[in-house]
């Protein structure tokens, strides 16, 4: 019932006729294969010649020719003879400029198919893709290198972060940031992630908090699927872990993390860690982990100085488009000394008052607006001597005793509490604290660790520490002290150990005897 004309050998086929015939064939192919498939493969095909048994088709590219021949030869051989009665063989001829002029067809966007394909294929580094990958890796967009404001407080950390992002696994392994909260550890971690993603879009980056890592681990154990868990973490090119202090006192987790760490370190993959205290002060962290954390570069981010605080707020102001003058910012940073979050809070509050009043803010108005915030951030104003005095008073001792060499249980505890408070409430370095007691910094590290861990087991010590702290924050160290005391616990360890040892030696004796 087909109404088309057929070619015969004696009829010379001219170009126009061939074109017409191809249109007929195309119609049949569409019916046979479906329009989508036809467009995908035969869109740019044509008939070149017809000689005896051989029909030559023009293909837009040699890859098209190959795939069409492999996949549709039978189909073509069933249709072509309808038009070319003698046709038994098919050959393909490929346009000369196949790879540039003959654009491949795709279903979605026939007009710009090359772009579509490239995207699917090579996943070029489009901004959107990067964002997507970053988010998948656990990175947060607002923390980037370009909005980090480095200052004298974070010089080393900043330089290290840039070095690590540029050449992961080569410079500092691991890189360990520590600082009290709100000073930019997390910002640097995310920044490193984004930067290395930008430089190496295909590297596998994982950002997690230690808590997330722990949850993943617990999940994996429960579901008995440790293999995917290990795979996930041990195949990362860049592992960023925040709040590492969370690993403290979790033995199983530490063991798992230890192996992850080793494997990544062996393969020279970069690990960056952040914690609120130096590795040595993390509670009950296995020594082998401590030593590994200290292995690369451990750097502290200090509280920002005046200039840096101003720079941070200026950059924030520009970022948020606030109408606040430099003078006002200077006034803010002079009053607010806390961490960056407090600073931002202060800026937001000032800006809000300014918009409510609908007029530029006077510098003189700043102190009033910020009166309560300043109160909160007074912590850093507490000095070594004040803390010592408060502690001495609480324990009913002289400050000189704290500084002295007496080591009775009570004095020792008071001294440790004082060291702990100084360490946690001020910015003084370990060495500075130690020298004010006439001790070395190891003692301070030990004291801080001890008090921290004891606080978790002994509620009375905890309340003592909290009491002194609160009193210091209020600034009244004169009230009568709470007299609650803590009894130092005597460990049972040595006894047990002794027993076990003697038991063992007994057994040994026994075997010896039976052997002889």
């Amino acid at each position: 019932m087909q109404s088309h004309e057929t070619f015969h050998e004696d009829q010379p086929a001219d170009r126009q006729d061939l074109e017409k015939t191809w249109n007929h064939i195309a119609r049949d192919l569409r019916v046979e294969l479906g329009v989508g498939t036809f467009d995908l493969w035969f869109g740019d095909f044509s008939i070149v010649s017809y000689e005896g048994e051989l029909v030559t088709l023009g293909a837009p590219g040699s890859m098209y020719a190959i795939w069409v021949e492999e996949n549709f030869k039978i189909c073509l051989l069933s249709i072509l003879p309808n038009y070319f009665p003698k046709c038994k063989r098919i050959a393909f001829e490929v346009g000369t400029a196949e790879d540039t002029t003959a654009l491949p067809k795709s279903l979605e966007k026939p007009e710009e198919p090359v772009v579509v394909k490239k995207k699917v294929l090579s996943e070029k580094v489009s901004e959107k893709k990067l964002l997507e990958r970053g988010r998948k890796a656990g990175l947060v967009e607002i923390f980037r290198f370009d909005n980090f404001v480095p200052g004298e407080n974070s010089e080393l950390a900043w330089a290290a972060a840039q070095a690590v992002a540029a050449e992961p696994g080569k410079t500092y392994q691991p890189l360990f940031f520590h600082s009290s909260c709100g000073l930019g550890k997390t910002h640097l971690l995310h920044g490193i992630g984004w930067e290395s993603l930008r430089l190496r879009p295909k590297s596998k980056i994982i950002f997690v908090t230690a808590e997330h890592f722990a949850n993943d681990y617990i999940d994996a154990i429960q579901k008995n699927s440790l293999v995917p868990f290990r795979k996930k973490y041990r195949e990362a090119d860049l592992l960023l872990i925040d709040d590492v202090q969370f690993l403290g006192r979790k033995e199983g987790l530490q063991r798992e993390f230890f192996h992850t760490f080793n494997q990544l370190a062996d393969q020279q993959k970069q690990i960056v860690l952040a914690s609120d205290c130096p590795p040595s002060e993390i509670n009950e962290l296995e020594d082998r982990l401590v030593s590994r954390f200290q292995w690369g570069l451990s750097t502290e981010i200090h509280r920002p100085g005046l200039m840096t605080r101003a720079a941070i707020l200026r950059s924030k102001r520009d970022e948020w488009g606030m109408n606040v003058s430099d003078e006002v910012i200077n006034a803010i940073v002079e009053r607010v000394r806390g961490n960056v979050r407090v600073l931002e809070g202060a800026l937001i509050r000032v800006a809000m008052v300014a918009t409510m009043n609908e007029e530029p803010l006077e510098v003189s108005a700043v102190p009033e607006i910020l009166s309560d915030i300043c109160g909160d951030s007074e912590e850093s104003n507490v000095g070594i001597e004040e803390i010592k005095k408060a502690v001495a008073e609480h324990y009913d001792l002289e400050v000189a005793v704290l500084n002295g060499k007496r080591r009775t249980a009570r004095v020792a505890e008071a001294r440790q509490v004082a060291m702990y408070l100084i360490r946690t409430m001020t910015d003084f370095s370990l060495v500075e604290i130690a020298s004010s007691f006439g001790k070395d910094h190891g003692t301070v590290i030990y004291a801080v660790k001890k008090v921290k861990s004891k606080c978790e087991t002994s509620s009375s010590l905890k309340s003592t520490v909290e009491l002194i702290r609160r009193r210091l924050l209020r600034g009244d160290s004169n009230r009568s002290a709470d007299r609650s005391r803590t009894v130092s616990q005597s460990g049972k360890g040595p006894m047990e150990k002794g027993n076990r040892e003697s038991g063992q030696s007994l057994k040994k004796d026994g075997t010896k005897r039976s052997a002889s």
Partner: protein, 365 residues
């Protein structure tokens, strides 16, 4: 030439070089391994004129020299020797005596001068890359190499270097496997070569999971140096077709499946694949995949498994062998199948820069 060598070491080295030797050859010397002894040890070489492998091994050489011995025969003798120490001595007529404990063999060889010299290596582009990276990439692509000798440009892995990327592609006209790996190359090294199947197979055997290898490429030859081994191969001349033409555009539907479970299910169902069309059907619907096969004269098979997919029902037929090949050679736990519709090519992807295009089969009904 006289030397002593550890059995295990010698056996291992012979194993690595003997695959090059072709069993049916017109030139007898090509079935021999060239053994050269110098002060430092031995160097073993085999060639089929296209691919040449040399390997260095440690040996206690008492007298230096060179000879060639039948490679496969020598390998099987060494494998069966009773002691771990082997004494080798070769006289001027290239007859080798092999002593190992109570065993004694005499093997007739051919003079080393007959062994074809390895062609001059011209001006080459050189760089080093990770062995594991190359091994993985070859493993993920080489199974798709075409065996159709009339399309000789497809009888190898197309290897493109440039734009900070190493791209390996293999296709046989029904499926295509590609790995595209970010790699920093020194500028001026952009090039495209086609490494023939045999060299790809030998190279995979030599590559390790760690360390690096030195690659040198000219327009007609490639050299790979690693772990005391050196592989030189002729390249396939010609232009590899523009493979990007057959990679489909953005997909409409993505199915996430567990690789191993999927592989096993396909393997089972394929036992009853239609012999004429050699295809099995995959029906995706509602987080379920039903794989089914139907051979009119034999019987039927069906298996369902959980997948992640929430699009409309799609039924598509593939050649089961083509589905299993990539699954066997990947090691990710999850793979993604991207589909446009029932008649457009499907694409298997993983979390890494890899993709595999597979043509659906047209099935009535």
């Amino acid at each position: 030439m006289k030397f002593q060598i550890e059995k295990d070491v010698f056996q291992e080295a012979l194993n690595q070089v003997q695959h090059v030797v072709s069993t049916r050859t017109t030139l007898p010397i090509l079935s021999n391994v060239l053994i050269e002894a110098d002060e430092l040890g031995l160097q073993l070489s085999t060639t089929d004129l296209d691919v040449t492998i040399t390997k260095r091994v440690a040996a206690k050489v008492e007298r230096t020299g060179a000879t060639t011995l039948p490679a496969r025969r020598l390998a099987s003798i060494v494998r069966e020797l009773p002691t771990s120490e082997i004494n080798f001595e070769v006289n001027e007529d290239d007859a080798a005596t092999v002593k190992s404990g109570p065993s004694f063999f005499k093997i007739l060889g051919l003079p080393s001068t007959e062994f074809p010299a390895i062609g001059e290596f011209g001006e080459a582009k050189e760089f080093t890359i990770d062995q594991k990276l190359l091994k993985d990439a070859l493993r993920k692509t080489s199974y798709a190499i075409s065996t159709d000798e009339t399309r000789y440009v497809l009888n190898g892995v197309n290897c493109l270097i440039g734009e900070g990327m190493l791209t390996l592609v293999a296709t046989d006209g029904r499926r295509l496997a590609m790995v595209e790996q970010d790699l920093e190359f020194p500028a001026g090294n952009e090039t495209a070569v086609i490494i023939p199947t045999k060299a790809v197979n030998e190279l995979q055997r030599l590559l390790d999971d760690s360390g690096e290898l030195k690659v040198a490429l000219t327009s007609s030859q490639a050299s790979f140096e690693l772990n005391e081994s050196h592989l030189i191969t002729k390249l396939i001349e010609g232009n590899y077709p523009n493979f990007r033409q057959v990679i489909p555009g953005a997909a409409n539907h993505r199915v996430t499946v567990e690789r191993e479970a999927f592989l096993n299910a396909v393997k089972r169902v394929s036992l009853l694949a239609n012999e004429k069309t050699n295809s099995i059907k995959f029906a995706f619907e509602n987080n379920q995949l039903a794989i089914s096969a139907n051979s009119p004269e034999i019987g039927e098979a069906e298996e369902t498994m959980d997948v992640r997919y929430d699009g409309p029902r799609i039924v598509v037929a593939f050649n089961p062998e083509f589905v299993m090949a990539p699954l066997r050679n990947l090691d990710q736990d999850e793979v993604f199948i991207d589909l446009i519709d029932e008649s457009s090519p499907g694409v298997i992807k993983i979390d890494e820069p890899f993709l595999y295009v597979i043509m659906p089969m047209r099935v009535a009904g």
